[in-house]
């Protein structure tokens, strides 16, 4: 069950780890725009070079940084095929019934797949170098303006952080329950689909029950410690942005401008 960690935080002291989470999230969106804005080979060369540098700066093993791409490689293939076969376009290479393979479609397919891959790796770098709690705190802080139009940003951030905390706990529990049911004879790895399907319920029901149980316990514990929503809560960590944070933002903004205004 635990193979390569994808998107999971990996502790470290690299340049990327030390940047403020708010800045990292903003940079993520700016660079995402730069990826989507790339329209020529030069444009892609630029974002690829930036991504390579970021991976280098993060000091994460390349294997981990690109792990999520391998996970969804089948999905990527489907995107590529769908684009290539349905995009239409003038220069049709071949056609069978409703399928029309065109040069433009292939190009479009590769573009979409490249964009998805690059953004996926960017997002992966963000979550691998930032603690989940930092991410939610940063989202809360960045979302403050939304409060004026009635969005309960603090509650949303609380829900997010609680949900994030539950993921590893539930994963671990799922593994234990899977083992317990395997010991009782459940066949999760059987070649027969019917046997695998029969093992599904003994796994899912206990996980749901335990999720509800934990949620109830947590809500009671929070209430017992005086949590009330719609109250301005104080932060435990309040750090101003450092010079490196400002320079990271500037560099990312510059890359984005370069992409949109200078490159063909």
């Amino acid at each position: 069950m635990r193979s390569l960690p994808t998107g999971q935080y990996i502790p470290g002291h690299s340049l990327l780890h030390q940047l403020d989470a708010r800045v990292k999230i903003l940079c993520f969106f700016i660079l995402m725009a730069a990826v989507i804005g790339a329209s020529s080979l030069w444009g892609y060369a630029l974002v690829l070079a930036v991504l390579a540098l970021l991976i280098l700066f993060s000091r994460l093993p390349l294997r981990c940084a690109v792990a999520p791409v391998r996970r969804i490689s089948w999905f990527l293939l489907v995107i590529l095929l769908m684009n290539a076969l349905f995009f239409g376009g003038e220069d049709v290479l071949a056609s069978w019934g409703i399928f029309r393979l065109s040069y433009g479609g292939i190009k479009q397919g590769f573009r979409v797949v490249t964009n998805v891959v690059l953004i996926l790796i960017l997002g992966n770098l963000l979550t691998m170098t930032t603690l989940p709690t930092q991410v939610t705190a940063a989202l809360e802080s960045l979302g403050k303006p939304l409060k004026f139009i009635g969005v309960p940003t603090e509650e949303v951030a609380m829900i997010l952080s609680v949900a994030l905390q539950f993921i590893p706990i539930l994963m671990e529990e799922a593994e234990l329950i899977k083992m317990a049911q395997t010991a009782r004879g459940a066949r999760f790895e059987s070649r027969k689909l019917s046997e695998r399907a029969a093992s599904f319920l003994p796994l899912v029901v206990p996980i749901f029950i335990s999720a509800f149980r934990r949620a109830e316990e947590l809500s009671l514990a929070m209430e017992a410690r005086g949590y009330r929503n719609a109250k301005n809560r104080t932060k435990r960590e309040k750090e101003p942005l450092a010079a490196s944070d400002y320079s990271a933002l500037t560099v990312c903004a510059f890359i984005c401008l370069l992409q949109f205004f200078l490159l063909p």
């Binding site: 635990r2 960690p5 990996i10 502790p11 994460l60 093993p61 294997r63 981990c64 529990e173 234990l176 329950i177 083992m179 317990a180 049911q181 395997t182 010991a183 009782r184 004879g185 459940a186 066949r187 046997e195 029969a198 319920l201 003994p202 029901v205 206990p206 029950i209 335990s210």
Partner: protein, 287 residues
């Protein structure tokens, strides 16, 4: 022999490339029909060892034999192992899932090939062994039962396959004193009918009183093993901390420390202590 562990190591993979060694080169043998206890502080690798013995994890080094067969060898029939080795994990009540108690307990017999009548008979036996009235409980939802009842239903779901080897991972944690006593009596009874029992526990009294052999784990290493009494006597000398002693042993130490009463260092259980004290009284009467 029921289980033979040969130079077994196990490491968990953590972050990129980092590994944590949970078990380091462990070897021991558990004879058929024995009652073996496993003790050690939290994080010493007890649960990992249980999972290896049940064939739920494959060791990263070494071999695990059950009834003389290497259970991780290619072509070994794991499903027959599931029928022969039963495991009761910590908080087994969390694995209940079916709509009725009867269905939940019968889950372990799904692939046994037994007829419907025989399955029902087995389920009845398992639930009655765990102290239930079969007709009353069979159609109830297992999730609506009390905590203690849920645990007994879950255990019934494990013993229903009549395993030759039963492994318990901290089975008495969270039980009230009465439930604990009943449970240990049940385990003793299972052992007397020929089932090999392996029990992981932090409860020194239960280990001292019920097990015949003891394995002591510390930081993934097997630091001591042998007949229970001998191991307890050695642990006392090692002074690995007060947790590794029974209360009777601690009372003997306290009495000796004040220079008040020197009793035999071989005392491990309350029964030992009681008979030693009786002897002391009788001796005192004579002198």
């Amino acid at each position: 022999m029921a289980i033979k562990i040969e130079n077994v190591s196990y490491s968990y993979r953590q972050y990129a490339g980092e590994t944590v060694e949970a078990l380091k080169n462990i070897s021991f043998t558990i004879e058929t029909g024995d009652f073996t206890g496993i003790m050690g502080p939290t994080g010493s690798g007890k649960t990992t060892l249980v999972q290896l013995m049940a064939g739920l994890r494959a060791p990263t080094g070494g071999r695990v034999y059950v009834n003389g067969e290497d259970i991780n060898a290619k072509g070994y029939d794991k499903s027959s192992l599931r029928q022969r080795v039963g495991v009761v994990f910590q908080y087994p009540e969390y694995q209940l899932f079916a709509a009725t108690v009867e269905k939940d307990v019968a889950f372990g017999l799904k692939y046994s090939g037994l007829s419907r009548r025989k399955v029902t008979a087995r389920v009845r036996w398992a639930l009655e062994t765990m102290g239930f009235d079969f007709e009353k409980i069979r159609d109830q939802s297992p999730l609506a039962l009390s905590g203690g009842e849920k645990r007994r239903v879950a255990i019934a779901g494990v013993i229903v396959t009549k395993p030759q080897i039963l492994i318990f991972d901290e089975p008495i944690a969270g039980l009230d004193p009465c439930g604990r006593e009943n449970f240990l009596q049940f385990v003793k009874q299972m052992n007397q009918t020929g089932t090999t029992i392996i029990m992981v526990s932090h409860n020194m009294e239960a280990l001292a009183e019920y097990t015949r052999h003891l394995l002591v784990l510390e930081k993934g290493r097997l630091v001591d093993s042998g007949p229970t009494r001998e191991v307890f006597a050695r642990l006392k000398q090692r002074k690995t901390g007060v947790l590794a002693q029974t209360k009777a042993q601690r009372i003997v130490t306290l009495l000796a420390a004040g220079g008040k009463l020197a009793l035999s260092p071989a005392i491990v259980t309350y029964d030992d202590l009681l008979s030693a004290l009786k002897q002391e009284l009788a001796g005192g009467g004579r002198g």
